[in-house]
């Protein structure tokens, strides 16, 4: 039987800010994406006690907790801490899966034998190492069990700073009162199905008969997936960039500038991943279009021209949100020898890589707000981030 350890950093972004600024410790802290943004993307343990959750608006957060301190996010800081966390975990087992920016699965089946107290002692030592390596305020919850699903659930049972062991003997009893939506794999749709049957906890769900097999397996916690180690990661299936503006874009010119900027962003990411796409999608508040071409491209000018043509057919203005998606991706094997633009784009990328972001960018974007690359906590681009040794 395998032994899987799941480590989850508690209120990661907010705790990291409290670690960097000791005067925020013990205070309710809400992380916002940037100054002036309207949504809390992470809340500290203290803020959560007031009911402030991820995704609430700043307006609501202030209503729930008037003394909340709002801090703009600093992804460089969080990634630096994640790198340190991965380095520490790698000392405990060679088989680990980075699940997100603050979560990791570690297969300790063999390595736990090196500790006299087994996985339990290993986890206690790991907690101490995390505190030493990341900072005294950084806390993590650890769950240990015989499958990934159970290890993740175990780490969520006791928060913050918890350590929970779920064994084959106790796991069904220990998870009786767990809310169904907390199980990884039971999302909004499945929760709605279960709620319509009058079920909120796993214990109640287990008493039902005739549940669909996929939901039944999750309810009885029978799902057991292997760890997605770095070597087995899948390449990205799509690349996108979305943006919500601070004010309504009322002219066509402003809208198109934003679309161009988003296209440039998405294509730069594609080129960094050495990929190209065939399907391009543009989505705005009240507009949606999709174009598929035969030859894959990573050239922002080609993609923008295609999207622009579609936009011109029924142009809209007065928008606040826009997104560009590129899918049908494949690795770029060979360019046409007559295509000199790819050399130009590579040269621009090289200049920006060496001298910093936006050292060179299209003149059409001059004078407009330049959107910086998107970084989120989910790490949907794990393949590129981990396999290309960025960590």
């Amino acid at each position: 039987m395998r032994t899987i350890l799941h480590l989850d950093m508690n209120s990661y972004f907010a705790t990291a800010e409290q670690q960097a600024n000791p005067y925020l410790r013990g205070k309710p802290v809400g992380i916002i994406k940037a100054e002036g943004r309207g949504c809390v993307i992470a809340a500290s343990v203290e803020a959560k006690k007031f009911g402030v959750k991820t995704g609430v608006t700043v307006w609501d957060a202030k209503k729930l907790c008037p003394q909340i301190v709002l801090v703009p996010s600093d992804m460089d800081k969080y990634f630096a801490l994640t790198q340190r966390m991965i380095k520490i975990l790698a000392d405990y087992s060679p088989t680990l899966e980075v699940f997100s920016i603050d979560e990791c699965f570690v297969d300790v089946t063999e390595t736990q034998k090196l500790w006299p107290g087994g996985a339990w002692q290993m986890a206690l030592e790991l907690k101490e190492k995390i505190r030493q390596g990341l900072g005294e305020w950084m806390k993590c919850s650890i769950g240990i069990s015989f499958s990934k699903l159970l290890a993740k659930l175990a780490s969520e049972i006791k928060k913050p700073d918890g350590l929970t062991f779920l064994t084959p003997e106790n796991y069904l009893v220990a998870t009786e009162n767990v809310v169904v939506s907390e199980v990884c794999g039971i999302g909004r749709a499945r929760t709605t199905i279960l709620q319509s049957m009058g079920v909120t906890t796993l214990g109640e769900a287990r008493r039902l008969s005739g549940l669909p097999r996929e939901i039944g397996d999750l309810v009885w916690l029978r799902v057991d997936e292997p760890l997605a180690a770095v070597e087995s990661l899948q390449a990205a299936k799509s690349v996108s960039r979305t943006f919500t503006t601070f004010r309504v874009l009322s002219t066509k010119c402003e809208v198109l500038r934003l679309v161009r900027n988003l296209t440039e962003e998405a294509c730069a990411k594609l080129r960094e991943m050495n990929m190209a796409g065939r399907t391009f999608c543009l989505s705005m508040d009240n507009f949606w279009t999709r174009v598929t071409v035969k030859i894959p491209s990573d050239d922002p000018l080609i993609i923008y021209d295609l999207l622009n043509k579609e936009y011109e057919k029924r142009s809209v203005a007065g928008i606040r949100q826009a997104g560009v998606w590129i899918s049908n991706l494949g690795f770029k094997i060979q360019d046409s020898i007559f295509n000199k633009r790819s050399d130009l784009l590579r040269a621009v990328d090289e200049v920006n890589r060496k001298h910093g972001l936006f050292t060179m960018y299209p003149g059409v974007l001059l004078g407009s707000e330049l959107i910086r690359p998107e970084v989120t906590g989910f790490l949907g681009d794990k393949y590129y981030r981990l396999l290309t040794k960025r960590f």
């Binding site: 670690q19 960097a20 301190v69 460089d76 801490l81 305020w137």
Partner: protein, 75 residues
């Protein structure tokens, strides 16, 4: 920007810095991390001076120092 640093055990740690005419003593360094801008790498030190929280940024190539962020205590 002028910064006095301490080198020990292969690590660098700011101990005193000047901002304008004013001198600040670093009381605590709660976090050290790295930022990257293009090919340049910067070592960032979140420092507590007892009056302000500041982020001192050291260019790893030129060893130049600058102040990244500077904020008073949240009360």
């Amino acid at each position: 920007m002028r910064v006095i640093v301490e080198f020990s055990e292969g690590k660098v740690k700011p101990v005193r810095f000047w901002r304008g005419m004013r001198e600040y003593e670093v009381k605590n360094v709660p976090m050290i991390f790295e930022r990257q801008d293009g090919g340049r790498r910067y070592m960032c030190f979140a420092v507590d001076t007892g009056g302000i929280m500041a982020e001192l940024v050291m260019d790893k190539e030129s060893l130049d120092w600058r102040m990244g962020k500077c904020e008073p205590y949240y009360t």
